[in-house]
Amino acid sequence: MGTLTTRFSTIQDPDEKHKFLLNMGPQHPCTHGVLRIVLEMDGEYAMGIDPILGYGHRMHEKMAECRQWSGFYPNTGRIDYGGAIPYNHGYCALIERMAGIEVPERAEYIRVITVELNRIASHFLGVGAYVIDLGAFTPILYMFDDREDILDALEDITGSRLTYCHHRVGGVSKDIDDLFIKRTRAIIKNIRSRFDMYDRLVTGNIIFQKRTKDVGIIPVEMARRYGATGPVLRGSGLGFDIRKNEPYSVYPEFDFDIPTGENGDAFDRYMVRMLELEQSLRIIEQALDKLPDGPVMAKVKRVKLQPGDCSFSVEAARGMLTYYLVGDGSNVPYKLKIRVPSYSNLSLLEELCKGSLIADLVSAMGSLDLIIPEIDR
């Protein structure tokens, strides 16, 4: 029998004979892809949790160092495949900040619209997968029905459905047209009309509430200690959102709220996501109303990355995303560091779930809405 390499080796401990190791993943239904967790179990209670990463490692950061900065565009869409456009946006904004490029206003609006549409699609994916973790298979298919409309609209302007590569340094690669605007308004109306259905099917369901309330409670202090961001942090009651706290792009021009939870349990995190859908819809609506005319691409001369460093943070669907770039005067980045939200959110898991039932572990982990390849990069 092979040995499981982990920090816990109590299985040989004669005094704790009843404890055993349970290997969850990398092909376990609840780990959404390629996370492996080694659990030290006492009956059905998980006493030790050891997430093991690296099964989805694709060397994105190293790839950035081996090619011109423009060659990293397609990679940005593949780090977090659930919500790719914020990653496009962050990278372009980073290079623009470094090279001091002004982006036309229409392009900024289009960026915001696509980012928010993508955020909605990503939240639908995350929430739907969470409900599957809890055992209900139907809601995710309704959510995918809505998400499909968004993907269709995004496909119309970006050309892809999942791994977008739409934003460019100095603007966006393709302008939006009247058809897209009409379509997006229809989508907004349709999604609004479905909220009530989700409330009745999922949120109000007593079993769902029992499974999520008081499960996986993250106090604010703990969330800050681990650097959790996004809906995980907001679910704990701290309304930290880069869009408000460190405004970028044209976000200051829009009127929207940051929903927060109270108890920091799984239900609050779920609720924050559902409420954010409405806020994103509001932003899109305002952006469509205010959409200015003009070019969507600035004149960009050859960009050389100045010696020195620069960073840019955006609010991705799962939390704060920061690109940090060190340049050396050539057009190849010397070093690109990506701070992804899921990494910090996952690191909560051990403290969060110590001593909880395996069913609660699944529930708590699902509510963190992790995209594992984003962590591995």
């Binding site: 239904p29 409900v131 209900a136 298979f137 139907t138 298919l141 079993i207 395996i358 699944v362």
Partner: protein
């Protein structure tokens, strides 16, 4: 013709053989029909088409799936206990077949008429848990073992409300015999009207007893991959599935006989009934109950283990006890 009837009457062995082969055919057919309905209904609930490719509306899909399962190699994991591992699916299937023997499809269409039919049927129904325990243990897989352990605790806890709710009816009929229970419900009265609490408790507990969502903890997919049958493939897996649908049928037929008036036509219209029509009414009621269980399955999330236990001990058992007391009181007075 007389000759055949004579033989059947004379030699009980022939009768047993015939009825058992019929029963097994019914169980298989039930699994195929239910499997198809489940896939179709789940698809329509999720606004998909479901199987569509083989035959009109894909009606042959389950037959082909059966053939596929039969053709697969039976793989026994290296660390498993091979004997028990192979026994478990059979152990799961046999009690189901035995329980089918007493199911009264109509007044004259049944394999066996036992005085204690109800008790026998419940006893067979709960034997299922042994098979699950053996399957989980012999697979030598931690997830399977989890599923097996959960299943045992769950079945023990839910046996009690099932018995208590049925007892309330038995107090009225003073018989465990299916025929008599049904005979009691001829006319307008059937027990779901005068024992609604017992009926609901029976349905909920029956759902749990047959491991259906929201109580499918032994196979909880997102937690335990597939629970006790994680390691099974091929037709051993098929046997588990058939037994699951068989158990569903048994639970629904108990509910039908005890609460819904069995083979009697609805609204006490006697000219509707008869040996053949009786089978029709019986099957109609059973299938309506099973379709409701499918509908429930594709709507709800799964409960957690302690909540499952709470539901039984804190809600179902006290309610069924009170219900039983009240029934006893009323029966005494009348």
């Amino acid at each position: 013709m007389d000759f055949i009837v004579d033989i059947i009457a004379k030699y009980s062995l022939v009768r047993i053989l015939i009825s058992f082969s019929l029963l097994i055919a019914i169980i298989m057919l039930n699994a195929i029909v239910m499997g198809y309905l489940e896939r179709k209904i789940c698809a329509r609930i999720q606004r998909r088409w479901g199987p569509m490719e083989v035959g009109v509306q894909g009606w042959m899909q389950m037959f082909l799936d059966g053939v596929k399962l039969l053709a697969k190699q039976l793989i026994v994991p290296r660390e498993a206990n091979p004997f028990l591992f192979r026994m478990a699916p059979l152990l799961c299937f046999t009690p189901v077949a035995m329980a089918f023997a007493v199911i009264p499809f109509s007044e004259s269409f049944y394999a066996m008429d036992l005085n204690i039919g109800l008790i026998y049927l419940l006893a067979m129904g709960s034997l299922n848990v042994f098979a699950i325990l053996i399957a989980g243990w012999s697979s030598n897989n931690k997830y399977s073992l989890f599923g097996a352990l959960r299943s045992v605790a769950q079945n023990v806890a839910y046996e009690i409300p099932i018995l208590l709710s049925l007892l309330a009816v038995v107090l009225v009929t003073t018989s465990f015999n299916f025929k008599e229970i049904v005979a009691y419900q001829s006319g307008l009265l059937s027990f779901w009207m005068c024992q609604p609490v017992a009926f609901i408790i029976f349905l909920v507990a029956g759902c749990a007893e047959t491991n259906r969502v929201p109580f499918d903890l032994p196979e909880a997919e997102s937690e335990l991959t597939a629970g006790y049958f994680t390691e099974y493939g091929g037709f051993s897996f098929g046997l588990f599935a058939i037994a699951e649908y068989g158990n569903l049928f048994i639970m629904s037929s108990v509910a039908t006989t005890v609460f819904l008036g069995g083979w009697n036509g609805p609204f006490g219209l006697d000219f509707y009934s008869g040996p053949i029509l009786g089978v029709f009414w019986f099957l109609l009621k059973v299938f309506i109950l099973m379709l409701i269980m499918i509908w429930v399955r594709w709507t709800y999330p799964r409960v957690r283990f302690d909540q499952l236990m709470n539901l039984s001990w804190k809600y179902l058992i006290p309610f069924s006890l009170v219900n039983l007391l009240i029934t006893a009181f009323i029966v005494k007075i009348i």
